[in-house]
Each structure stands twice: as C-alpha cells, then as structure tokens.
C-alpha cells in the first residue's frame, strides 16, 4: 500500500520555484530518505505533506486520501519531527508530550499510557518531571520525537533530526528510527548527512533544486554512476604474482600491476575481497596495505550535480 503519494507537486515563493513538479510514492514499511543539499526543497516538501504549506500545483495523498480534502485524517496519521525544536521549555518533559498528544484527541487513561510509552521509547521516562531547559541538545531532540509519536502515526517524518547533536544521541535516534520501522511505521528521513541516509534508509531520493534527480535503493543509485569498484593492493614484492590467476576470481574485470601496487577492477555487487586476499596469502605475498574504492552516495550526488552535498 502507498502510505504517501505525491503527484506533480509544485511550490513557488514569488518567482522562485522551491519544489518543481515533484512526483514520489512511498510504500508501507519503508524508511525513505530525502537526500539533498541545503535549500534543495526537502523541508518545503515536508511542510506541504504536513499541511503547513499549501502547494501551487499537484496533489498529496496520505494512505490514499487527498490531504487537501481530508486534512484531519492526514494529520492524525502523520507524526512530524521538525527541523527546529518544537517543545515548550517551561513545561516538563511529561507535560510537553501530553500537550502534543492531547492535540491529536487522546484523552484520559489512553493519553497517560501513550505519553509514558512514548517517553519510555525515547529513554526519557526517568526525566519526565524535568524541564527541557536543562536538557542537552540530544535529549531535546528525543523529547521532540516523543511528542511526534505519542499518537501512534502510520507515517513519521523526521526533518534533519541529527543536526547539532552529540554522536551518542545520534546513534540513539538512528536506532529508534529502525525500531519505529520494525514496529510498523513508515518513516521519511531527510538529511544532508550522506552516511546516515546510507545506513538506515531502504529507499532514497536524491533531491536537487526542487526536483528528484534519482531515486532507488542505495545500490541502484550507485549503479547509476558505475557498476565496478577498484581494489588497490600494495604488496611488498610482485615476483610470484600471476595476473591471470587474479583475473580468474569471480567478478574481477581487469588487473594491472604498477610497481608494487596491484590495481584490480571488479564488479561492485560481487563480494570477492576475501578471495582476493586469500590469493595473496596463498602465494605468500605480503600485503602492506589495501584500499577499496567503491562509489558512495556522496560521489553519486557529486557526479550528477557537480556539487558537494555540504558546501
């Protein structure tokens, strides 16, 4: 089932086009990554999905229902963790979550249970009576997530949730994204940190200047650029080396020996590193260093747009 369907979405601010005829579908159970540099239109798209901005053209459907005509249904099924923290510093952690869950119509014991569940999920149950002003950046982020998930939405949107926080909190958040996904939530995750997107997302759209320029799993995206990888092995001596024997290894395309460096070009999707190393060990050739160069999403972005993700 399509949790989210976007058709020909366009948003203009004056004559500036922030989102340009964008079409996307996100299926149930995906962790969908929006990868793009600052100002690519990620947040604008998310604000339109959340109903905070109105589009100029196109339509957005949540669980098959148009958000323009069924905005209440859409809002009830979305949880949004905005880029800028949306919590009240003068309310306790518990009160913050209760407030936001209350906005979604939860009442009574159900409200209490859900608030505690959400706080427990983000690991803040023991801090529920504390004020967020005394929290670290990471804890505030986690509280922000608790506010967004207490009403158990089908679709959770996280807009750059790891900006400006410590590595521990970052890992905690990435793990909780995975957990939410295992519990049946579909997640939209935007970031300009390529590593995060590559780590957790099942499908990724590369966005630039308001357009989706490429979309697919990370393997598919990398395959746009190349389907080979380079393995460079620096050896002590190449006396007993036989190029043809390395070529026999599954997946290897070409072998070049330049002085002490053996340059192997291999198909990217075949995992043959073990076999290659095994070859050198069997021949008693000492490996001094080994370098594998496979494309990552950063190279994909750089190659397609000519710019870096972070300027």
């Amino acid at each position: 089932m399509n949790v989210l369907e976007i058709n020909n979405l366009t948003k203009k601010f004056g004559d500036f086009i922030a989102v340009d005829n964008m079409s996307l579908t996100i299926k149930e159970g995906e962790i969908f990554g929006f990868l793009g540099s600052n100002g690519a239109g990620k947040s604008t798209t998310i604000n339109m999905i959340a109903g905070l901005l109105r589009s100029n053209e196109g339509e957005i459907k949540i669980l098959g229902k148009n958000i323009a005509s069924q905005s209440k249904f859409a809002k009830r099924n979305i949880g949004i963790v905005p880029q800028d923290l949306a919590i009240y510093e003068d309310l306790t952690a518990y009160e913050n979550v209760r407030f936001f869950a209350g906005l979604y119509g939860l009442r009574g014991t159900e409200l209490k249970d859900r608030v505690e569940e959400a706080l427990k999920f983000v690991g803040l149950l023991d801090k529920q009576k504390s004020l967020p002003k005394n929290f670290s950046g990471g804890m505030k982020r986690r509280l922000n997530i608790a506010c967004a998930i207490a009403h158990k939405p089908k679709l959770i949107i996280m807009d750059e949730p790891t900006v400006g926080i410590d590595p521990q909190s970052r890992n905690y958040i990435l793990n909780s994204v995975r957990q939410l996904n295992e519990m049946g939530c579909t997640v939209i995750y935007t970031s300009h940190y390529m590593e995060e997107v590559e780590e957790i997302c099942t499908r990724i759209a590369i966005v630039d200047h308001g357009k989706v320029i490429a979309e697919g799993t990370k393997e598919q995206l990398k395959a746009i650029i190349t389907d080979t990888k380079d393995i460079w092995v620096d050896v002590k001596s190449n006396d007993s080396l036989e190029e043809s024997a390395i070529k026999e290894i599954n997946g290897v395309n070409t072998v070049q020996v330049e002085e002490n460096v053996v340059k192997i070009n291999s198909q990217a999707e075949v995992s043959n590193l073990n076999k290659i190393i095994q070859y050198f060990i069997n021949r008693n050739i000492e490996i001094r260093s080994l370098k594998e160069q496979a494309p990552n999403l950063e190279t994909v972005f750089l190659t397609l747009t000519g710019r870096n993700l972070r300027d």
């Binding site: 500036f16 086009i17 320029i213 490429a214 746009i224 190349t226 190659t303 397609l304 747009t305 000519g306």
Partner: protein, 366 residues
C-alpha cells in the same frame, strides 16, 4: 442548465393557468396579458448573450411580477422565486442566503403563503441542481480540453522525434554509402586498375619474353591479393560511426560558436559515447545550444565549458560558465523548453546559479 430553468418556469406558468381556469377570476384578460408579457420577456432572455442585458431583462421581469402581484392578481407572485434566483445568484455566493432571501416575501403575503413557500423551495432546489450540474459540466469540458491539448502536443513531439529518427537513419545510410564508395575508389579501384594494366602487358609480352610476362603476372597476382584484403578490411569496418557523428556534430557547433562570439568553449567527454542514442544526441545538442545562447546573453562569462559524461546508467551533459550566476533562478521559456524536451525521454534538467551558471541534462539509459 437553461433547459432546467425553462422547465421550472413552464411548470409554474402551467400551474397558474390551470388554477386560474378552475378558479373563475374576474380580470382574466389582464392576467393573460401579464403571463404573456412574462413569457415573452423570459424567452427573449436567451436571444442576448451579454450578461448586462440579461440581468436588465430579468430585473424587468421581476418588476413586472411585483406590479402584477399588486394590481392584477396576487397569485402571480409564484413566478417570482425562479427569476429572483437567476438575478441574484451572481451576487450572492452563499446558497442558503439565497433561499432565505427568496423566502422573505412569505411574511408579507396576505394569502397562499404556503404555496409560495413551496414554489420558492422547489425553484431553489431545481436552480441549485442546475447550477451545480452546469459547473461540473464546465469542469469536465475544461479537463477534456486540457487533455486534448496535451495529446496534441505529445503527438507533435512524437512526430518530430520520429521524423528526426528517420532523418538520422537516412543520413547515416548516406554517409555510410559515401564512405564505402570513397574507400572502393581510393584503394580497391586503384589496385584493380594496376592489376589490369600488368595483366594486359603480360598478355602482349607472353610470346616475346616469357620470363618478363611471368614476372608481370606475379605482380598482378600480388596486387589482386592486396585488393581482396582491402575489400575484407573495408567490409569489416562497416559499422556506422553514429557515435562519432554525435560528438563531431557537437564539436562543430561549439567551434563555430567559439569563433563567432570570441569566447572559450572547452569540451570534454568521458565514457563510452557509443551508448548515446541518436534521440539522446538530439536532445543533448539542443540543450547545449540553448544553454550556450543563454550564457552568452546573461552571464557575462569569459568561458563556457561543456562536459558530456556517459555513466553506467545515465548520460550527463553539463554546460557551465564562469559568469555572474544567479542566486535565484527564474525559469524562462528557454529553460522550460529544455525541461520539456528532456522529460520526453524521462530525463531531468538541473539549473544551478550558485557558482557561475550551470545547466545539467541527465538522461537515463537502458
């Protein structure tokens, strides 16, 4: 919509006629006169297309009904609601307000207020239904028009592309034929002629100097062998140089541009150019030309670099200048044209003005 309203009016008029026929009223001629006046006013309405005139006539009709209500027969007020709705609907957007206004006369009627209420409500229902259906109809017609327009546009571009494919096939064939005839003329033709001359000489020398004739024959054999080898090579190289044509054509355009406008236009290409199809070449060439012209017009650049990069599953063609760029890119007809062209083969165009100005065309392959 008009038909519905006419039917409603007809029903009311018929109702009045029947009720008068049964009731035996005293000033029947006046009533008939009023009714006829009403009918003629409401028929003449459809002769005019101008909104102003129609409203004027409707207003006249409303006044006529009010006058005849006071002076001729109170029952004639039943004609009022539908005329009133017609007149007021462009000004009052809230439907219920319309109904409420239409019902106001109920309180001032000396008699037959229930009848009036009923007729008013009935007219209201029919009127709103009619307007709603006509609105829907209009929307569908709009949609249909749009779709028709789209189809037309798409067919046009399809035809254009097909035309191009046909043409490029034809050019390919022509160039290939030229190449082969050139080759045959240059090498095989020459060797055949050479061999022929040697054989003719051998024939004349055969009875006089057998040794010499033998030598000449040997030469002819060698030349013929070489000729056969040449034929083989020519046939082997028969693969048409489409990919080279694309690159060459673009190079030619760039060179011309560079000379004409005195600007540096470096051109780099990477990857396997064979993978680019003729239709992709067409789009790339057109987009590059368009981007060059734009750069020349707006950028004040001293150098415009062009890069074509064939990746594993995509072709990327980038035109980038070192000019002043643009913080906010405003799409004009040129960029929209490029986008449309590129979208016809499922590609995208990225326009970026943050560092100089660049137009990147991305076309998927396979």
């Amino acid at each position: 919509m008009e038909l519905w309203i006419i039917y409603t009016k007809l029903v009311v008029v018929l109702f009045l006629a029947v009720s008068y026929a049964h009731a035996n009223v005293d000033n029947l001629p006046n009533i008939v006169f009023c009714l006829l006046l009403y009918i003629s006013m409401n028929s003449i309405l459809y002769v005019f297309s101008k909104e102003r005139i129609r409203q004027g006539i409707l207003l006249g009709s409303v006044i006529l009904i009010c006058l005849s209500f006071y002076d001729v027969n109170p029952l004639l007020i039943l004609l009022l609601p539908i005329n009133f709705y017609e007149l007021a609907s462009p000004f009052i957007k809230v439907k219920w307000a319309l109904l409420a206004l239409g019902l106001i006369p109920v309180f001032y009627l000396p008699e037959a207020e229930y009848l009036y209420g009923l007729v008013s409500a009935f007219s209201f229902v029919l009127f709103t239904m009619a307007t709603r259906y006509s609105e829907k109809m209009m929307m569908y017609e709009d949609k249909l028009d749009k779709m028709r327009h789209d189809i037309q546009r798409l067919t046009a571009s399809l035809n254009e592309n097909q035309e191009y494919i046909k043409q490029s096939e034809y050019t390919n064939r022509l160039e290939e034929r030229n190449r082969i005839s050139q080759q045959i003329h240059d090498s095989i033709g020459h060797s055949m002629t050479g061999a022929l001359i040697q054989m003719e000489a051998a024939k004349s020398l055969l009875s006089l100097d057998t040794e010499k004739a033998k030598e000449l024959m040997q030469n002819a054999i060698a030349i013929s062998k070489q000729g056969i080898e040449d034929i083989r090579i020519t046939l082997k190289n028969m693969k048409p140089p489409t990919e080279q044509m694309g690159v060459q054509r673009l190079k030619l355009i760039l060179e011309e541009f560079s000379v004409k406008h005195r600007i540096k236009v470096p051109f780099v290409y990477k990857g396997n150019m064979d993978m680019i199809t003729p239709i992709q070449w067409k789009i790339i060439t057109e987009n590059v030309t368009e981007a060059l012209t734009n750069a020349l017009k707006y950028s004040r650049a001293t150098e415009i670099s062009i890069e074509i990069h064939v990746l594993n599953r995509m072709v990327k063609a980038e035109v980038k200048d070192n000019g002043k760029g643009a913080q906010r890119v405003v799409k004009g007809l040129g960029i929209m044209g490029m986008e449309e062209r590129t979208a016809s083969v499922n590609g995208t165009v990225i326009v970026d003005g943050t560092n100089g100005f660049s137009v990147t065309t991305l076309l998927p392959m396979g």
